[in-house]
């Protein structure tokens, strides 16, 4: 088993309605000097979260104690930029298990899926409704059901289904990763290698 199983998650959510949140904001490059994957959560959104003298920026959502939970709701085009998996590790290490957005950048989405953080893509309208609901009541909960591929705003009952391919869904439900799968096709890969022209 490579990571936590993901079945259903019911949680309050942290709102971050900024568009084009890039991986340099999620984890700035100067914090990529580690050789293990522990502790990145401390520097999640470092420069939005802390001033230059390391005091917290009180207007940033992660420093506002009324917003908490295992779900991060971001603006459109979340995770653009670099391929650094450290961004997904930071999201996970901070305690999020699911990121919701009306649009994800490709590599970030892939990286999340590879470490057991579920990216849930929803419509822009639903995204707005969720932001409004959280701002109206920070205790608003979302329910994410991977088996059924649905996300529900519990206060209103609004529900949408989301896309994930069957292979990845099974992996996440069981906590398997791609290496588990690839290891089982070694001989097929070795035969393929012999046919490569270079």
């Amino acid at each position: 088993m490579a990571y936590d199983k993901f079945t259903t998650l019911t949680s309050t959510a942290v709102p971050l309605p900024i568009e084009n949140v890039d991986t340099d904001q999620i984890i700035p490059a100067r914090f990529l000097k580690a050789t293990t994957r522990d502790g990145f959560g401390d520097n999640l959104f470092r420069d939005w979260r802390y001033n230059g003298d390391n005091t917290p920026k009180t207007d940033f959502v992660l420093n506002n104690p009324i917003y908490k939970g295992k779900i991060l709701v971001g603006g459109k085009n979340f995770g653009s930029g670099s391929s650094r998996e450290h961004a997904a590790w930071a999201v996970y290490d901070y305690g999020f298990r699911c990121v919701v957005s009306s649009f994800f950048a490709d590599i970030f989405k892939n990286n999340c899926l590879n470490i057991g953080v579920l990216p849930v893509q929803i419509s822009a309208e639903f995204s707005n409704e969720i932001f409004e609901a959280i701002y109206a009541d920070a205790n608003t909960e979302l329910e994410v059901n991977l088996e059924a591929q649905t996300i529900t705003l519990l206060s209103s009952g609004t529900q949408e289904s989301f896309d994930i391919n069957g292979y990845k869904r099974e992996n996440m439900l069981n906590g398997f990763d791609d290496i588990d799968y690839l290891q089982n096709m070694k001989s097929e890969i070795e035969t393929f290698t012999e046919s490569r022209p270079f």
Binding site: K33, G75, E85
Partner: protein, 464 residues
């Protein structure tokens, strides 16, 4: 059945197609560097796995290296440890390693093509989003995460859903002072940073046909900045001339055999793309960015657009301009700048330094500007010296540094201070990208040179 260039290369690398799942894609060449590979080796060791084909992986130190005094020990202990970890892992698993000080060292996407690691029709990955650079040769090349680095190390494969296909054609002739960087920034400004997400791009049309290999690398490099996983250009005589005789390209009968395959690598006439976009070369002028993502670019003679003229929400737009210290409808020409950076996998090749030299020759660096000239590799550095460019730079008051990623992502000491403005030939102008609080204006080497000698944003056409 008619196929695109992308289909031909992708389909020939599919080891297994999983129903309602990704393709198992074979990877011919794997590049690794010190920042995104250590945890992959940790994973591999913890599972008791080994590297399946070490001869298909190449380790290069570049992201976290100093650009002065490379002959001395690296001062920052964390950086030194990362570099040592890359070297130890490479040695342990029999992977070739071009570390700091090695004659072939440089930015991984510059040294790959220089040494013939990059060939047409190959699949090439690296834990770095600008791996798209190698698409200039008709390869499928894209950035991957560290979990995928581990997959490639242990199985030479990754699992990817096949992306959709987009063709971007630019036809006509580029005007004076318009470089491949401007073409890339122009396309991104038209598409936004998410306009090609989910797609793999093929660039077509006279502009790319007439472009040098180095220019094609600049354009393909920037593909990720419009959200595309990668971009590619069909190989032609220029491509074959560039790669022939390089250390790691096929030789003799192997070359002839490879050529037969490479000559088939073009999109069939009847092939269909999921999306087609066409632009006119004459609409492109030297570009500059004014905001905090690469899509926020404009012709240098224009004014900063107002919020209602751009896609996206006003709150995000206002936040971006506030960070930059700019306002809607302002001119960019004449804005004071503090730093100039020429280098990176986008614009760190010899042609970029020639372009920079063409403007600074006979002029002097402006007193208010700190300039970092960072070659993409030792090979580029040697050419700068051979061609007499170094003399031009030094006479004009510039210093040449040693190769590396440098101020593009500012992992090392090459950091732009908070609040300062940098005209940078790199690829990202995100908040704090070049150092906490830094403000980046992305531009071509010509625009960078014009800013370096005038101290303000200047239209390079006036100095050519």
């Amino acid at each position: 059945m008619s196929k695109t260039l992308f289909d031909k290369v992708w389909d020939s690398h599919v080891v297994r197609n999983i129903e309602d799942g990704p393709d198992v894609l074979y990877i011919d060449r794997h590049l690794i560097h010190e920042v995104t590979s250590p945890v992959a080796f940790v994973g591999l060791k913890s599972r008791g796995l080994s590297v399946l084909y070490p001869e298909r992986t190449f380790a290069v130190a570049d992201h976290n290296t100093p650009t002065i005094n490379q002959h001395l020990p690296v001062e920052d202990p964390l950086s030194a440890n990362q570099l040592k970890t890359l070297e130890d892992n490479a040695n342990q698993y029999g992977i070739s390693h071009w570390g700091l000080g090695h004659q072939n060292n440089g930015i991984v996407h510059v040294v790959g093509p220089e040494n013939g690691i990059t060939v047409p029709g190959a699949t090439i990955v690296c834990g770095d989003s600008h791996t798209s650079t190698h698409g200039a040769f008709g390869a499928i090349a894209f950035g991957i995460g560290t979990s995928e680095v581990e997959m490639v190390l242990t199985t030479q494969c990754i699992m990817q859903p096949k992306p959709k296909k987009m063709r971007i054609s630019v036809n006509g002739a580029l005007s004076k002072g318009v470089t491949p960087k401007d073409v890339g920034l122009y396309i991104i400004s038209q598409l936004t940073t998410s306009g090609a997400t989910g797609y793999f791009v093929e660039y077509a049309g006279d502009v790319f046909e007439n472009m040098t290999m180095e220019g094609r690398m600049t354009v393909c490099n920037l593909s990720i900045e419009m959200g595309a996983r990668g971009g590619m250009i069909a190989p032609d005589e220029k491509t074959f001339d560039y790669i022939k005789g390089r250390p790691k390209t096929p030789k003799g009968a192997d070359w002839d055999k490879a050529m037969k395959y490479w000559e088939t690598l073009k999109t069939d006439d009847a092939a269909v793309f999921d999306k087609e976009l066409t632009f006119s070369a004459s609409d492109i002028e030297p570009m500059i960015t004014y905001g905090t993502n690469p899509g926020m670019g404009m012709g240098i003679s224009n004014n900063i657009p107002s919020a209602d003229a751009v896609e996206g929400g006003k709150a995000t737009y206002d936040k971006s301009l506030a960070y930059m210290g700019y306002a809607e409808n302002e001119q960019m020409i004449g804005k004071k700048i503090d730093y100039v950076f020429i280098g990176s996998c986008t614009n760190g090749r010899i042609e970029d330094f020639r372009a920079f030299a063409s403007i600074v020759k006979g002029r002097q660096k402006a007193d208010n500007v700190t300039a970092w000239l960072v070659p993409g590799s030792h090979i580029v550095e040697a050419k700068i010296k051979e061609e007499g460019l170094l003399d031009i730079f030094e006479t004009a008051g510039f210093v040449l540094r040693e190769p590396g990623c440098s101020a593009c992502l500012a992992m090392n000491d090459d950091k732009v201070p908070a609040g300062k403005y940098a005209v940078s030939t790199s690829n990202r102008n995100f908040e704090g990208r070049q150092g906490p609080g830094s403000r980046t204006l992305l531009a071509s080497p010509l625009v960078a040179a014009a800013a370096a000698v005038t101290g303000v944003v200047t239209d390079p056409r006036e100095l050519l």
